[in-house]
């Protein structure tokens, strides 16, 4: 991080004239990388079009993974949502689908994410709060009521208990008469970034990786259109990383999954085509675009050269993008619409396959229906009015963007070497490497804001005296928790508990052996064993993860 002078000397509460401020300022990206006043051909001297960029849909895919990109098909507008009970969320899904959304994205509540039933003591106060509460197949049936699973693709943000929620979904398909081969969607299932950034884990790394390879193997045979892992940089960025760290750590995780799959005896081309990615889109417009372009190039090159993938689909980095929740401010929340629009535009110019735009009110509560609609409309305006989707990779050849792309790639390569020297991703996690890098970057970022080296409108400049918020705020009815707890208790008393016990015992044996656990999880699901019960069996066999303390 370069040292900045001057800006911090600004007397508190006093606005200097913009011009003099700009003279004093150091010009950096939001990640703290210095930016020159002008970029020329000298900055991209070595760039070779065919080798480094290539046509869209051609190696190394810097310009995009498909030859026609948005001229063939727009990105999927996929708004992440879920709250309260399955019934309320189901209504919101119908609402979004009726307003032109083209894919579903399910947010689960914290108990579900941590593998607890709604009636567990630790779930108290958290049921249906930041997502929908799903404790069993019965809840999942309600969540997708009236939504034909052969017609939509569904993304589920679930990691620790990804196998269980996936099993619930497959079983809803069975009930609807949709064979698993027809199901389309994504489970996030990226446990490595949980240890690194998001901190919603259940089991230790080794057994978690084993469940993931079980999922990859089962999907290859039975659910071939499913994206088995969405390797996520989003949360790494939200935890405070820089763009280069997001890029490097996410790709390092991706390579770790590839190596795990190969170590489990699978051919790389059997599972790699089903790996997808999930990035953040933060405020620094060009840095973000360069990040996506660099990501595609690094992935394609490594998959081909290091892992010897032959199937071109193994080389394609397809990714979902979400605008940066951490860039939104509680102050003057309407401004968040504008921030989100720029971030969304960067994602589109960076060639994303699907996109979630945040709602303006998310620093206060879950989105209200109106805020969620504006967020969706933002995407539609970019798609249909701005012209940004008319041509492919329009910023290619920009000296600045190409130079940033190269620089981010080089920074990522440096991190790969460091991670390798630490013994790989899992070892680096155990040593707290990622956690420390991110915590330091987050603190630096906060300090830059407080020293006004980074201006955030409405936070450290252009502040308004009266900060009353006049947008509607969604509130969750506290009776939802009571009702959901009742539902779970009722299920537990009414189902065939003999069958539950037998299927759970079968699962325990599979977990203790090296057998694939997915068929056993499916059987337990069909018997209406709950999420908590299934996770408890595995907690018993695998133990719980404990985080090393890192500052």
């Amino acid at each position: 991080m370069s040292k900045s002078v001057g800006a911090s000397c600004k007397p508190k509460g006093m606005r200097l004239k913009i011009e003099s401020k700009r003279k004093e300022r150091q010009f950096n990206t939001i990640s703290g990388e210095p930016v020159k006043d002008i970029y020329t051909p000298k900055d991209v001297g070595e760039l070779d079009y065919d080798r480094d960029l290539g046509q869209p849909g051609k190696f190394p895919y810097t310009r995009g993974v498909y030859d026609t990109m948005y001229r063939g098909q727009l990105w999927t507008m996929r708004q992440f949502s879920g709250f309260a009970s399955a019934k309320e969320s189901n209504e919101r899904y119908h609402y979004l689908l009726n307003h032109g959304q083209t894919g579903l994205s399910v947010a689960f509540d914290m108990p579900t994410i941590m593998g607890y039933d709604s009636d567990h003591p630790r779930s108290q106060g958290e049921v249906g709060r930041c997502g929908v509460a799903i404790s069993s197949l019965a809840d999942m049936e309600v969540l997708f009521d009236g939504i034909p699973l052969d017609k939509v693709s569904t993304s589920m943000t679930i990691n620790g208990p990804a196998a269980m929620l996936w099993a619930f979904y497959i079983c809803v398909g069975e009930k609807q008469g949709v064979p698993s081969r027809e199901l389309r969607g994504t489970i996030q299932n990226d446990i490595l970034k949980e240890y690194i950034a998001q901190k919603s884990w259940i089991f230790p790394p080794q057994p978690s990786m084993r469940i993931i390879t079980d999922i990859m193997a089962y999907a290859a045979d039975h659910v071939p259109k499913w994206n088995t892992i969405s390797i996520s940089g989003y949360h790494i960025r939200e935890a405070g990383s820089t763009a280069a760290q997001e890029l490097a750590f996410t790709l390092a995780d991706g390579f770790a999954y590839v190596e795990a799959g190969m170590a489990a005896g699978m051919d790389v081309d059997v599972f790699a085509p089903r790996l997808s990615f999930f990035f953040n889109s933060h405020l620094d417009f060009f840095e973000e675009i360069a990040k996506y372009r660099a990501a595609r190039r690094i992935w394609a090159k490594r998959m081909k050269e290091k892992y010897k993938a032959k199937d071109p689909r193994s080389l394609l980095m397809r990714f979902h993008t979400q605008t940066a929740g951490c860039s939104l401010t509680a102050q003057q929340p309407e401004n968040n619409i504008v921030r989100t629009a720029f971030e969304a535009l960067a994602a589109v110019l960076g060639g994303t396959q699907s996109l979630h735009t945040n709602s303006m009110d998310e620093t206060h509560a879950l989105p209200s229906a109106k805020a969620a609609k504006i967020a969706l409309r933002t995407q539609q305006i970019i798609a249909y009015e701005s012209g940004a989707a008319n041509t492919i990779d329009p910023l290619a050849g920009s000296y600045f963007v190409e130079s940033l792309t190269n620089k981010l790639e080089a920074q990522a390569e440096e991190y790969f070497e460091k991670i390798e020297a630490l013994g790989g991703v899992v070892k680096a996690i155990e040593k707290g490497f990622f956690q420390r890098e991110i915590a330091n970057a987050a603190y630096r970022y906060q300090k830059n804001i407080e020293e006004s080296k980074q201006i955030i409108v409405g936070v450290n400049d252009f502040v308004e005296g009266d900060e009353s918020i006049d947008i509607p705020i969604l509130s969750i009815d506290s009776e939802i928790e009571e009702e959901q707890v009742k539902r779970v208790k009722k299920l537990k008393s009414e189902r065939d508990n003999g069958a539950v016990k037998a299927t759970l015992e079968e699962l325990r044996r599979a977990a203790e052996s090296t057998d694939n656990v997915i068929p056993c999880i499916l059987n337990a699901t069909r018997a209406y064993a709950t999420l908590g019960e299934i996770c408890d069996v595995l907690r018993g066999v695998f133990g719980l993860y404990r985080e090393p303390p890192i500052f």
């Binding site: 040593k431 707290g432 404990r546 985080e547 303390p549 500052f551």
Partner: protein, 334 residues
Amino acid sequence: MDSRNLKSGKSKELVSKLLEGDRLAAARLISIIEDDSVESSDIVREIFPHTGRAYRIGVTGPPGVGKSTLVDRLTVTLRGEGVTVGIIAVDPTSPFSGGALLGDRVRMTDIGMDDGVFIRSMATRGNLGGLAKTTSDVADVFDAFGKDVILFETVGVGQSELDIVEAADTTVVVLVPESGDSVQAMKAGLMEIADIFVVNKADREGADNAVREIEVILDMTSDQEGWTVPVLKTVAHEGDGVDALRRIIDQHYRYLASKEKLAEKRRKRVRAATVGIVQEKLHSRVWNDPRIEEFLKKRVDEITTGNGTPHSAAEEILHMVGFYNHSECMKGEQ
């Protein structure tokens, strides 16, 4: 905050509550001692007659070797035997801000809710020897509170953490397999202070090598009469080897007790405490005198422009605080 500004009458009351087993009183007393408030020496004096029962174990070693986890697991083992435990986990104070981030409790969540355990995080507050200046006094609070065992976890910056030898009856030095390469370098700081060595995270590569290397160096350096410093392997986060460590600590205790070394250790501790108090009083007598700083500033300017020497200025300062005047000195000490 009101509760922290205690009238001296209140401190007596707190001590009697402490002796009755009141946890809140224990916590408050520790704060008063830590803050070195005026009541502090009264409290230490009141408490001292009730100390001497607890066995004190120090856990030290470089950063990242798993000291907190080992302390956590050792505590679980001790609790299994019905032994009560006081833990003092020390982390460094930032020399720049005077603040500290005390994160050892993160590793001790299981024992945090156990009535038989009391965990206190302490910042070094400028002390360099691996513990805070008042750590031993805080241990006395736990001792008087009735804790059977007191576990110290030192800062763990690696070297010169010698305070622990005086504070603890048994000192456990923790390393990891990767430390093997640097054992030679650390030899000066750590070899002499260890009563027991632990190679933690022994499921990693190189554990046996590390054990051998430590043993070789111990052969050359160790001179504890009648006690061969053992080198144990543990995997603390799995609990492996912790029972063995517990047994070895017990053996060391019996060795100390049988050779009268325990009494000797405690004599040394009392001596060190006394010397410490004297030094502290002298120090604060000089530097808490507002005249001195001003005088010093003036003299420094003069000396650097060629008038006088540090020695002459020092003599003047000592005269000012009455160092050479017996009666005035006593008056100053209340």
